[in-house]
């Protein structure tokens, strides 16, 4: 008995067992990717103007830190503003569309059609209306990211169990009651789930717009670096975008978890 307790009490486990490999995995895989990339460049001896090694890219990040930092903030700014508008508008339009079967049926095809338009094609129009700069970038981020929010909110509203609705209607509930008590809380997991998709799309929108119609932002920085054959700087910009994207995604996932934890534990998880 005493031998047993002694055994379990002493943390004499080997190091490999004490490490939480699942938590560590994302970092290990990322490092692995960079190592592989580095090796590939060394083996194939690709010139830095085609594919720079990661070490060369990090060097570029350090060397151009000031413009990279400034442009990263600019892109983060246009993206989050566009995304914020998309959240507000997406929520409002989603609630509107999900309100009644008739509105849903009428507007849904229009929304699909609108979503099928490549948003890049809209940038020139936005430039004609608003000139080059931050506004087209914000609007492109908004246009590209609000669709998934609308669809998810509307779906959450439109898929209320008919039995739940019957129970409430039999008590004399009005449409507004059903929406407030069931529809809106029910669509919240769909809404928060869609934010993760929407934020990554927002980055796509803002960067595309900055690339063709702005003097600021990572998109603009990368396109001018490209015209000067400064390929390591282009990759540095891509890396910064990836970092921003991951950070915002993680933030949205965290918000989702905080706001709608019940949906992950109940059977209603998507």
């Amino acid at each position: 008995m005493s031998v047993l307790t002694e055994n379990t009490a002493t943390p004499a486990k080997p190091l490999a067992q004490r490490i939480n490999w699942v938590k560590l995995a994302p970092w290990l895989y990322t490092i692995g990717l960079f190592v592989l990339w580095e090796l590939l460049v060394i083996v194939l001896q690709t010139p830095p103007t085609i594919l720079p090694a990661p070490s060369r890219v990090f060097q570029a990040i350090v060397q151009y830190w000031s413009p990279i930092w400034k442009n990263s903030l600019q892109t983060l700014y246009t993206t989050t503003v566009g995304f914020a508008i998309a959240v507000v508008a997406g929520l409002a339009i989603g609630l509107f569309i999900g309100w009644s079967k008739a509105i849903y049926a009428g507007l849904y095809p229009l929304m699909i059609g609108f979503n099928a338009i490549p948003k890049v094609a809209l940038v020139p129009i936005l430039v004609i209306w608003f000139g080059i700069g931050a506004v087209p970038a914000i609007l492109t981020a908004f246009l590209i990211s609000f669709f998934p929010i609308v669809v998810n909110v509307a779906t959450g509203l439109a898929t209320i169990e008919p039995e739940t609705e019957d129970v409430l209607r039999a008590l004399g509930a009005k449409k507004l009651d059903i929406m407030l008590k069931v529809g809106i809380p029910r669509s919240m997991p769909y809404f928060f789930g869609s934010l993760k998709v929407a934020i990554t799309l927002a980055f796509v929108g803002s960067v595309v717009s900055e690339t063709v119609a702005s003097n600021y932002g990572l998109g603009n920085m990368m396109s001018s670096a490209q015209s000067q054959f400064n390929v390591p700087l282009v990759f540095a910009g891509l890396l910064m975008l990836a970092v921003e994207g991951i950070a915002m995604y993680a933030l949205m996932a965290w918000i989702e978890m905080r706001m709608t934890g019940w949906a992950h534990r109940s059977s209603m998880s998507q």
């Binding site: 169990e161 039995e163 739940t164 019957d166 129970v167 409430l168 209607r169 039999a170 008590l171 004399g172 509930a173 009651d177 008590k181 069931v182 809380p185 029910r186 919240m188 709608t260 019940w262 949906a263 534990r265 109940s266 059977s267 209603m268």
Partner: protein
């Protein structure tokens, strides 16, 4: 005995003129305080009957009268419980049970000021169905049987005059079902509420009801009406008596032939 529910020669068709005729020539009367059970083949229009009585559907012809008023819109004196408990997963069990009070006109304006009184009532109901202390749990932390008990509490919280139960015990195991039969039996005895129960379980119908309506295959109408002779209060033991089994047997035969006719 005055009638709380009167259904007179009702036709109900789903989906326009060419749609499914669910019930046709349906006539039945349920007295105040009575416990009625409705049995019949699957798809014969039993759930439709529930929706007609509660005013969720309005018949194309014939009239439904509940509490001396013709039903033209949802009547709020009913409580409903379905086979699927439909608890809202973001609300605690207690808040789920209080939900009808936020809807029903008579209560919604009093709820905030008299919250304590209502919560006490809900907790009392929870105790009656054997869920004491589970009010703060979320529905997904309860088993299927426990959710169904909570569902009953939700149907009863606003003290409905009429309780409509559509196969509420269908998904439960035999022992839990019998336990809940006793809960319903005691509620009915204590509160004098009128109950209409739709069920596929003929023993359930015979054990609980005063009267049993047997429906034909679709389009449904009442084929036969039985008065259950067993004295109240009934004990679960009554189910092992010969007269009880004979009655179940007879009902079984009637539904079997109603299915064949279809």
């Amino acid at each position: 005995m005055p009638h709380l529910v009167t259904i007179d020669n009702v036709d109900m068709r789903y989906g326009g003129a060419a749609g499914t005729l669910a019930v046709s020539g349906l006539t039945m009367k349920v007295g105040k305080g009575e416990f009625a059970a409705v049995v019949g083949p699957s798809g014969c229009g039993k759930s439709t009957l529930m929706k007609l009585v509660t005013g969720l559907h309005i018949p194309q012809s014939g009239v439904v009268v509940v509490a001396e008023k013709q039903v033209t819109k949802p009547v709020s004196i009913v409580g409903m419980a379905f086979q699927n408990p439909t608890m809202l997963p973001w609300r605690t069990t207690l808040d789920n049970i209080l939900l009808p009070l936020e809807i029903v006109e008579r209560h919604r304006h009093r709820l905030r000021a008299n919250k304590k009184e209502y919560v006490e009532k809900a907790e009392h109901l929870l105790e009656t169905v054997g869920l004491k202390g589970f009010g703060s749990k979320f529905p997904w932390q309860l088993s299927g049987g426990m959710q169904q008990r909570a569902n009953l509490c939700r149907a009863l919280i606003h003290e409905p005059e009429l309780l409509m139960l559509d196969e509420p015990f269908g998904a439960l195991d035999a022992f839990t079902r019998e336990e809940l039969w006793c809960v319903i039996r005691d509620l009915h005895a204590a509160q004098g509420v009128t109950i209409i129960l739709v069920t596929h379980d003929l023993r359930e119908a015979t054990f609980l009801a005063d009267r049993i309506f047997v429906m034909s295959a679709r389009p449904g109408k009442v084929l036969k009406e039985h008065t259950v002779p067993f004295a109240r209060p009934r004990d679960l033991e009554v189910m092992y008596e010969k007269a009880f089994n004979d009655m179940v047997h007879e009902l079984h035969g009637e539904i079997a032939s109603a299915r064949v006719v279809a």
